[in-house]
Each structure stands twice: as structure tokens, then as C-alpha cells.
């Protein structure tokens, strides 16, 4: 499987997107902290995290005996660069801000 296939496969699952959302809100969490927000076994969460790590969407830092999980946005950045030209970015930012303001920022969470 290519690196890009791994990224899309990892993102295709709502549980894994939820884990990325949790890290986006508070980066560098332990497995235990993440499990508090997830309605599933610790083992299931571990497997989802492993898939995210294999896709390079997670970076791991060890702090003493604590394993901290970080959202690694580099592969996502590469995807956006592939299809968005630099001259479109300012316009897309404006459009995104407009949409967010109009919709009051509760959409797009799943």
C-alpha cells in the first residue's frame, strides 16, 4: 500500500478521525487520557492509534515512561498541496472563514 493509500484508509474511519480531533484540541495526550473520551476498550483504541501511526498521522514522544501522542499534520499538508495551488489559498481561507461564521462553527465534526 502506498503512503497516500495508508493516509486515506486511516482517515476513512470516524473513530480515527475522532482521535485526531481529540489531539487537535489537546496535543500530546497519553492513551489513558484518550480512552476517557472513547466508548470502546483500551485495546481497540490502541489498534486505531497504531493505524494512525503507520500512516504517519501520529508522532510519538516518550516522556519518562509516558507515551505521548501527537497529531502529525505533515501528510495532510502534502495532500492539500497536491490539489490546491498557492494562488487559491487566500481565497479558500476567506471562503472557509465565511462558512464558519455563517454556520457558527458546529459542522464538520464527523
Amino acid at each position: 500500500m502506498s503512503d497516500l493509500d495508508k493516509v486515506f484508509k486511516a482517515l476513512a474511519d470516524p473513530t480515527r478521525r475522532r482521535l485526531l480531533d481529540l489531539l487537535h484540541a489537546d496535543n500530546g495526550q497519553t492513551l489513558s487520557a484518550l480512552c476517557e473520551h472513547m466508548d470502546m476498550t483500551r485495546q481497540a483504541v490502541t489498534q486505531h492509534l497504531q493505524q494512525l501511526e503507520n500512516a504517519n498521522l501520529l508522532a510519538i514522544v516518550w516522556q519518562g515512561r509516558e507515551k505521548l501522542h501527537y497529531l502529525n499534520p505533515v501528510p495532510l499538508h502534502e495532500i492539500s498541496q497536491r490539489w490546491i495551488s498557492k494562488f487559491e489559498r487566500d481565497r479558500l481561507d476567506l471562503l472557509h472563514t465565511l462558512k464558519r461564521n455563517l454556520e457558527d462553527d458546529h459542522s464538520d465534526k464527523t
Partner: protein, 162 residues
């Protein structure tokens, strides 16, 4: 990492190249100018200038006529071709080390012909403005660097600016 502080950000990219080439890209202005630029139209190319000895100063300068210094700090570790670490501060706050955050680049051989490059930025938790500014910046720089080292070609924007 041996530090006790929890990083604010960790960015990882895998590049099909050698540790030596990644190292050169981090310390050599002529390579830096080919990738240290943002995605938006009109972004200015910036380079990091230093002699890269521990204890020396470094500056993050615009590569235009102004040579404006946007960021400055002190080189903490320099172990070619494995680890480069420096502090990171606004030029006005460079004398107050309590205002410095810390950046580290770790270069590790990953598999045959592939290098894992990790950028860690810590000490930003009390500086939301800087945190916002850099959180979009690092993925861009890493992605540019990967493109440059794997294709051997500079990005169109940096050619225009050079």
C-alpha cells in the same frame, strides 16, 4: 528526548535521501533558500544564519533587501548529521531567555535510503500568538524540504524570489 518539558508540536516526515543531505539543508543558506518559504502567493523566502556552534546566536532572516530578522535565538546542540537544536524568540525578547521556546531537528536513518526527520517545538504553551504562527509553518517547511530533496528541484516560488 531527555527534556522534561512536554513538546507543543511534533512533526515527522520521511524523506528518500541521506542524513548528510538533510543536515546540509538545515545549515546551508544556499539550500535553505530553496525551500524555506510559505505556501501563499507573495510569501518571502527566509533563511537561518549562524555558524551553528553551540552557544552561538542564529537569526531567521528575510532573504530580500530588508534582511529583516523575524526570529532569533541561541544554538544549543549541533551534532552533524543527527541533531540540531536551538532556542527560538522574537528579536525584541532575545535577551530574556524565559521568553525563548526550543526547536530540535532529529535525523535518523529509517530504512534503506529513507531518513526520518522529526521537528519538535516545545516551550510555546505560554505564547499562543507564536504557537498559532508556527503551527501552520512547520508542515509547510517540511513538505517543501521533502520535495526539494526527493526531486532535486527547487519550488517555483523560491526560484522566483531568488
Amino acid at each position: 528526548m531527555t527534556t522534561a518539558t512536554k513538546p507543543s508540536f511534533v512533526y515527522v516526515t520521511y524523506i528518500a535521501t541521506t542524513p548528510e543531505k538533510v543536515w546540509q539543508a538545515l545549515v546551508d543558506v544556499d539550500v535553505m533558500r530553496q525551500y524555506w518559504v510559505g505556501t501563499k502567493a507573495g510569501s518571502v523566502v527566509r533563511v537561518n544564519v549562524s555558524d551553528w556552534k553551540p552557544g552561538s546566536s542564529w537569526t531567521h532572516e528575510r532573504l530580500d533587501d530588508s534582511r529583516t530578522v523575524d526570529i532569533a535565538g541561541t544554538v544549543v546542540e549541533c551534532e552533524p548529521p543527527r541533531r540540531l537544536a536551538f532556542t527560538w524568540a522574537r528579536p525584541a525578547e532575545v535577551d530574556d531567555t524565559s521568553k525563548h521556546s526550543r526547536v530540535a531537528f532529529d535525523i535518523e536513518p529509517y530504512s534503506d535510503g529513507v531518513v526520518r526527520l522529526t521537528v519538535t517545538h516545545d516551550g510555546l504553551e505560554h505564547d499562543p500568538g507564536m504557537l498559532n504562527g508556527i503551527s501552520g509553518g512547520w508542515p509547510q517547511i517540511l513538505s517543501n524540504l521533502k520535495t526539494l530533496l526527493e526531486s532535486g528541484h527547487a519550488l517555483p516560488a523560491s526560484v522566483a524570489a531568488a
